[in-house]
């Protein structure tokens, strides 16, 4: 157990380091960029508590062999001022712990489908609804550690 309540019950069971900057972010806005398993490989994603779903980089399906027939229609999301159309999938991911226990989750994922000429300029995003909403999590910006655990 990594963090606990005063009565000893676990709050967070895993802890992971995070990057706090995107290299392309000239404004140096602080981020929480953590490592996650998606499918059978790891990648990085930004914790986005104002967002919905796991929003994947549009090229992630090239690494995952997703079955298009298992997706749900067409959904539209506005991501930082840009409107993206894509598909919803059910994916299994894992938050990776450096200390404690990693956590495997089944989440709703949005896979953008880019129109010709449309650009993708974001990392993958871990939204609240459909992804992180039933986890406990905490951030220590002093040591850049992201704590997480099941409810």
């Amino acid at each position: 157990m990594v963090l606990q309540f005063a009565d000893g019950r676990p709050f967070a069971t895993g802890a992971s380091p995070y990057r706090d900057q995107l290299s392309s972010d000239r404004a140096e806005t602080p981020r929480i960029l953590v490592a996650v398993w998606i499918g059978d490989s790891q990648t990085q994603a930004v914790v986005d508590t104002g967002g919905v779903y796991l929003v994947c980089d549009p090229e992630i399906p090239d690494l995952l062999d997703l079955n298009p027939s298992a997706s749900l229609g067409v959904a539209t999301l506005l991501i930082r001022g840009y409107e993206y159309v894509g598909y919803l999938h059910r994916l299994t991911i894992a938050l990776l712990a450096e200390e404690g226990e990693s956590l495997e989750l089944e989440v709703t994922a949005f896979i953008p489908r880019l129109d010709p000429g449309q650009e993708w300029r974001f990392p993958s995003l871990l939204g609240l609804q459909g992804c992180l909403e039933f986890l406990r999590f905490a951030v220590d910006p002093g040591t850049n550690v992201f704590y997480f655990g099941p409810l």
Partner: protein
């Protein structure tokens, strides 16, 4: 002629509780004068009050703000001669306008216990278009509960279900820090490229994820990311 006042829908401002980069879709449509929708053979007629004909999108400067706020306005007056689709037309309007609040209010006013499986499926699709993601989940779940054999509702309910913890006791991965540290140290050099790492060591880089995968005998267990 029945007149419904929709003043509750006007001047609705949404502020996500914890704003960051993602928000729900927002309309570009400017409402003008009149709009007519046909539902089967029944005309549904909306009168739009000209003084409220605006849709605003206030996007933040990416340099200073972490998320959008949005203001949306739907028609204040709805004249309905006969709505044979019993409320679904209102959902269509809200979805077309991308107005989550109006959609949720309209959907909440419908007695879903008597609706068909097709109505549920259609409304879930509209909810996703309106940005009403929680309502989409709720209706998919309710529709699947009522029509367990309906394939599309079953898929909707499965994909939109709340996230579920599959396993809470997986072993830690000590390579996490090394991979993130490599990205931090080499970001400028590899910006925009896809890279494959293993325990903080670069294995391959490429312009696209597909090209990266083609360079590697397997991607299993590797750290794969676009450097941003």
């Amino acid at each position: 002629m029945e007149t419904r006042l929709l003043s509750d829908y006007a001047e609705t401002t949404l502020f996500p509780a914890l704003m960051d980069s993602t928000a729900f879709p927002e309309p570009d449509r400017v409402w003008r004068d009149f709009k007519i929708a046909m539902a089967d053979t029944t005309a549904v007629f909306w009168i739009i009050v000209p003084t409220v004909e605006r849709q605003e999108r206030r996007l933040p400067s990416p340099e200073v703000a972490t998320g959008p706020s949005k203001t949306s306005i739907l028609p204040q007056t709805l004249d309905v001669t006969e709505d044979r689709e019993e409320g679904l037309a209102m959902l269509e309007i809200a979805a077309e306008a991308g107005d989550e609040t109006a959609f949720v209010q309209a959907a909440s006013a419908i007695d879903w216990s008597q609706r068909s499986a097709a109505d549920f499926a259609r409304t879930v699709r509209l909810a996703l278009a309106a940005g009403a993601h929680l309502m989409a989940r709720k209706l998919a779940n309710q529709g699947h509960w009522l029509y367990a054999d309906h394939e599309e509702l079953a898929k909707m309910a499965r994909i939109l279900a709340p996230p579920r913890v599959v396993s809470a006791n997986l072993p830690p991965d000590p390579s996490v820090r090394a991979n993130l540290e490599w990205i931090r140290a080499h970001a400028a050099e590899y910006r925009g490229l896809w890279v494959a790492l293993k325990e903080g060591v670069l294995l391959a880089s490429a312009s696209t994820a597909r090209e990266l995968r083609d360079q590697l005998p397997t991607t299993a267990g590797l750290f794969l990311t676009r450097v941003i």
